[in-house]
């Protein structure tokens, strides 16, 4: 495997790139603003968001499926990415509104008046008016984009450094990562956190300076952005896992003690993977939340990260395609069943309403897949293909 990396990397990446590109192109042609209006904007948004979830899923797959760190806190990074970009979106949009409303006054406004008005608009709902310190750079898109990378990366670095250094592994590490995301979400739930507490940041789908574009156009833009993000992260991760580095991290997964005796500083490798996946997850979040429209602390509750792991497990861990398949299928099915689209099944004495029963079947599905198909959906597909051949 390691022996012919380059060819393999290129082949995989190319196939993937073409598939996603064609897929996105197809959706664009089926969409409302650029095509035959077969697919609704709402579904385009769902697809765009799903692509972002796929990015998070492949990051999760690398950190868990390849490196063996079952992180139950990766959604914290996803959320942080969303918050960082959300701050700019919200501040900028509000300042445009405020500037318009101040236009009517006779004297030109002072900087303080502007800040107060913006603060009142953003923090009025949580009973405050002051703009907190952490919003210092919120008026600058470039800074906030840097934060999208920096903040999740920093959190991952600090947490990872602490955890790996003391050799917390396995189940313990999972619980610790869960505690991390719980602590972060509880912190953000406080109004004092300066990020609007439980309300979170909202109205993010209205992109400032793009007011003239309709949401259907914006949704296509973000679909493309998400696709590019997915391709970008796939190429990076595919390179990593196919390189010798990848061989090292799978060795960490299989037996990290053994690897230490070969002179590998396992902790640094883990930290590297933890941080890079956190950054990519954060970027995914930054593309996701402008499509979702609102981010709030409930998004990063521990359960979200568990779901992330479940997607990867269902799709098939240790295979990037698997993670994508898992994330896409579960989240799309979930959205379909809870959307009231699925026809109910009358059993005569009892009617199965999908809205009520979907979660039950989903849960049973997880169990079945973990027990019967270690390879997940992609593993099942492979066996099926082998049989057909």
């Amino acid at each position: 495997m390691i022996t012919d990396i380059n060819k393999s990397v290129k082949k995989h990446s190319l196939i993937f790139l073409i598939t996603i590109f064609l897929f996105t192109l197809l959706i664009t042609f089926l969409s409302e603003p650029f095509g035959i209006n077969f697919i609704s904007t709402s579904f385009v948004k769902v697809l765009g968001k799903t692509l972002c979830l796929c990015i998070a899923a492949i990051a999760m797959d690398v950190v868990w499926g390849y490196c063996g760190i079952l992180s139950l806190g990766h959604f914290a990074f996803f959320g942080l990415g969303g918050y960082m970009i959300g701050m700019w979106l919200m501040y900028e949009r509000t300042s445009i509104i405020v500037l318009n409303s101040l236009d009517g006054s006779q004297l030109p406004f002072t900087e303080i008046e502007l800040q107060e008005a913006i603060g009142n608009q953003i923090f009025g709902v949580v009973g405050g008016t002051e703009i907190p310190l952490i919003w210092t750079f919120a008026d600058n898109l470039y800074f906030q984009i840097i934060f999208v990378i920096l903040i999740p990366g920093l959190l991952a670095f600090i947490f990872g450094w602490l955890a790996f250094r003391s050799r917390v592994t396995g189940v313990y590490l999972s619980i610790l990562t869960q505690a991390m995301t719980l602590a972060l979400s509880l912190y953000l739930f406080q109004n004092d956190s300066g990020l609007r507490g439980n309300n979170g940041l909202s109205g993010l789908q209205n992109i400032p300076h793009l007011e003239n574009l309709s949401q259907s156009t914006i949704s296509i833009l973000f679909l493309w952005l998400s696709s590019i993000g997915l391709i970008f992260s796939f190429v990076i991760f595919n390179y990593i896992i196919q390189s010798k580095f990848g061989s090292v991290i799978t060795a960490i997964r299989d037996n990290e003690t053994r690897l230490r005796f070969f002179g590998y500083n396992v902790e640094i490798y883990k930290l590297f993977i933890f941080v890079i996946t956190a950054i990519i997850t954060g970027l995914a979040g930054a593309i996701y939340y402008p499509q979702a429209g609102i981010i709030n602390p409930a998004e990063i509750a521990p359960i979200a990260s568990i779901y992330l792991a479940v997607w990867v497990a269902i799709g098939g861990r240790g295979k990037l395609y698997g993670a994508i398949l898992g994330a896409a299928s579960v989240s799309l099915l979930s959205s379909w069943f809870t959307g009231g689209n699925a026809p109910n099944i009358p059993l005569g004495f009892f009617t199965i309403e999908w809205v009520n029963w979907w979660t039950v079947f989903l849960g049973i599905g997880f169990v079945a897949i973990t027990i019967f198909s270690k390879g997940g959906l992609i593993g099942m597909l492979n066996t099926l293909l082998v049989k057909i051949k």
């Binding site: 495997m1 390691i2 022996t3 990396i5 990593i240 390189s243 010798k244 580095f245 061989s247 090292v248 799978t250 060795a251 299989d254 037996n255 003690t257 053994r258 690897l259 230490r260 005796f261 070969f262 002179g263 590998y264 500083n265 396992v266 640094i268 490798y269 590297f272």
Partner: protein, 246 residues
């Protein structure tokens, strides 16, 4: 003869149980030594201490010409200094091919950022091929390590040690689960290696140790009972009592 490794007055206890008591031991360059002893004598703990997996309560472990104290070092640092270890139960990376296993352990820069862009040069592959031949696995080099026999795994692990190119190898029960022919092959492999690096073999099997024809140390209850040639120690009454007598 210059000493490569000197273990000086080392002790360790777990929950009040003294696993190693004031143990001192040394080995020179390109020397082959064997350690024997009954179950619970502290053989594995002894190896754990040298490789940094367990920190002793007191004592020193000095390494090489500069007499570096290994106690403060991590496992990976010790490994990088040139100590390789083979475990009692063969531990190879079962999901990887034999050749990938060897590439992984090959002595190269371990910096993650370097590893990310590391490529296999021709010389790398040639040296690996040589090792593959030495350990009799050349023909099946592309097989997954999890599928090969127990004895072959033992060899693979020794091969991985070779590929790591250490100055000292700690080898825990290399002959366990091997057929008599495989044992003989193992003996010759080890003897061959000892020409270029030092080896400490921990073994149960007296016959195997006899074939190695080297200095033998007998451990019992965490301290050294006797040390010398195999003929010398087999005549020691205490050794016969605690070890052979059973």
């Amino acid at each position: 003869m210059k000493t490569l490794l000197e273990v000086d007055n080392v002790s360790i206890s777990f929950d009040g149980f003294k696993a190693i008591k004031n143990l001192s031991f040394s080995i020179g360059y390109n020397e082959l030594q064997a350690i024997i002893g009954p179950n619970g004598a502290g053989k594995t703990t002894f190896m754990d201490i040298i490789t940094g997996q367990t920190k002793p309560d007191n004592g020193h472990i000095l390494w090489g010409e500069k007499s570096i104290d290994l106690i403060r070092k991590t496992e990976s640092e010790i490994a990088l200094l040139g100590i390789g270890r083979k475990f009692q139960k063969p531990t190879v990376f079962e999901n990887k091919t034999i050749i990938d296993n060897l590439i992984l352990s090959q002595k190269k820069n371990r910096n993650p950022f370097k590893v990310l862009f590391q490529k296999n040069t021709n010389t790398d592959l040639i040296s690996i091929d040589k090792i593959l031949k030495d350990i009799n696995l050349y023909k099946i080099k592309d097989r997954i390590a999890g599928e090969i026999s127990h004895g072959q795994k033992q060899w693979l692990e020794i091969g991985m040690l070779l590929s790591q190119n250490p100055k000292l190898m700690l080898i825990d029960e290399p002959a366990a689960g091997m057929t008599p022919t495989e044992r003989n092959q193992t003996v010759s492999i080890l003897k061959n290696i000892s020409k270029s690096s030092s080896i400490i073999v921990v073994e149960h099997d007296m016959e195997f140790v006899r074939n190695l024809n080297c200095r033998v140390t007998v451990l019992n209850e965490g301290s050294i009972l006797s040390s010398g040639s195999i003929d010398f120690i087999t005549q020691n009454e205490k050794v016969i009592e605690v070890y052979l007598g059973r």
